[in-house]
Every structure is written in C-alpha cells, then in structure tokens.
C-alpha cells in the first residue's frame, strides 16, 4: 500500500497492512519530526509534494523492493502538510520470510525515498524563519536508473 496523507500516521495500521501468516519477519521504520537540527530549534515541518509523481515513484520503489527481496508485503505512508515535533512524517513497513530481507529492503526504501521521490520538507524555526530543505551534497542519479537495486 502507498499512501500520502495530511492525517496522523497510525503505526499500528501500517504494521497491520504488512502482517501475514506467510511472513517470519516484520520491520517498521518511522521517521519522526526532530526538534533540533545543528543546534537550531524547529517548531514544525511542512511538506510539499508533486502528488501524482510522488505516488508513482513510491509505487515503483515498492514494486522493485518486493521483487528484489521477495517481500511478503510492503507499505509506505508519507505525511503532507504540517507535521508537529515528534510526530511521524514517514512510515515504511515490510514483511518477509526471513529478517535479513526485511531489514535490507526497509533501509533501501528509505534511502531511495530521500533521493528520488518528489516530496520536500520546510523547516519552521523558532525565530519565525522558514527554510525549504534541498540537500545538494549528493549528485542526482543519472536520468533513468533511479531504481538501482544492489
């Protein structure tokens, strides 16, 4: 399941989406809104999104992970709009027959989300300033190999 939502992410619902009698392992990752970044204090985050493309990119990532690690199930939920401190901004849950595949797939999915899915966060700082976050320390993946499973 792929879901982009302005509502609170319920971790138990994300877990339930991937639990299966066929699975021997379930891994759930939650990304949460951090209060301090390099000593600066955040009030909240806002997320912007290119909706249709973000959904299709997430679906492609999910399908690639399902195939590469032979997952039993995979669920990715990402928040949009305003997200308060400590709240869940992204949830990735995967299930598989054995734990190695679930750990590896979950980590790979989060890495890819941060590289290729058109979602952006804006920091709202305590001094009233707002900054869109556009990380530039990594070169973009070459045009058509955005899904490269190692």
């Amino acid at each position: 399941m792929i879901h982009l939502t302005e509502n609170t992410i319920e971790p138990l619902e994300v877990l339930a989406a991937v639990q299966s009698p066929l699975a021997g392992a379930v891994v759930l990752f939650l990304g949460t809104t951090r209060q301090f970044t390099d000593g600066r204090q955040t009030v909240q985050l806002s997320y912007d999104c290119y909706l249709g493309m973000a959904e299709s990119q997430l679906t492609e990532l999910k399908n690639a992970a399902m195939e590469n690690w032979q997952l039993t199930a995979c669920c990715i939920v990402h928040r949009l709009g305003d997200v308060g401190i400590g709240q869940v901004s992204v949830a990735v849950a995967v299930s598989s027959v054995h734990r190695q595949a679930a750990f590896a797939a979950g980590e790979w999915l989060m890495d890819q989300i941060k590289i290729s899915v058109p979602i952006w966060k804006q920091e709202h700082w305590t001094d009233g300033r707002r900054d869109w976050i556009h990380p530039q320390n990594e070169p973009p993946p070459s045009s058509e190999d955005r899904i490269h499973v190692e």
């Binding site: 493309m53 979602i119 952006w120 070169p139 058509e144």
Partner: protein
Amino acid sequence: MKQTVKMFAGARDAVDCREIEMSLPEGATVGQLRELLHLQYPQLRQWPTFRIAVDQRYVADDFILLGKEELAYIPPVSGG
C-alpha cells in the same frame, strides 16, 4: 512552442509562481529547457542538481519535447 513548467518548494518561492511559461524552439530537448530555465531565472542556479520530470517521470537530457507534455522542475528532494 510554449510549455508550462510546474514549480515546487524552494523553487516555487524563488520564482514566486506555481507554474512558469517557457518558449522553446520546436523539437527542443530537456537539456535545452534546463539551460533556458537557468538563463531566464538565474535565481534557480542555486540548485545545479535539479531534475526535469516529463509526464511525471525523470528523463535524460536528450529527451525531445513535443509540446504537450506535463513538465515539472524538481529541485533536490527532502522527503522522509
């Protein structure tokens, strides 16, 4: 040919618009569009690693535009 380019996040703020209209020569490539964007909107040069999405997919610079595609300027992403 004229084509609109959707803008997001910091890039939207930089041009103060959700969409910008670009005039492109017939048969222009995505690479030409990239160059023209930075010529006409120097404030976008702060994201040298931006990508262009055509019909909601990343494409190579040699992709030839026909004039009917949905185009988007994708500054470096920061989901998660």
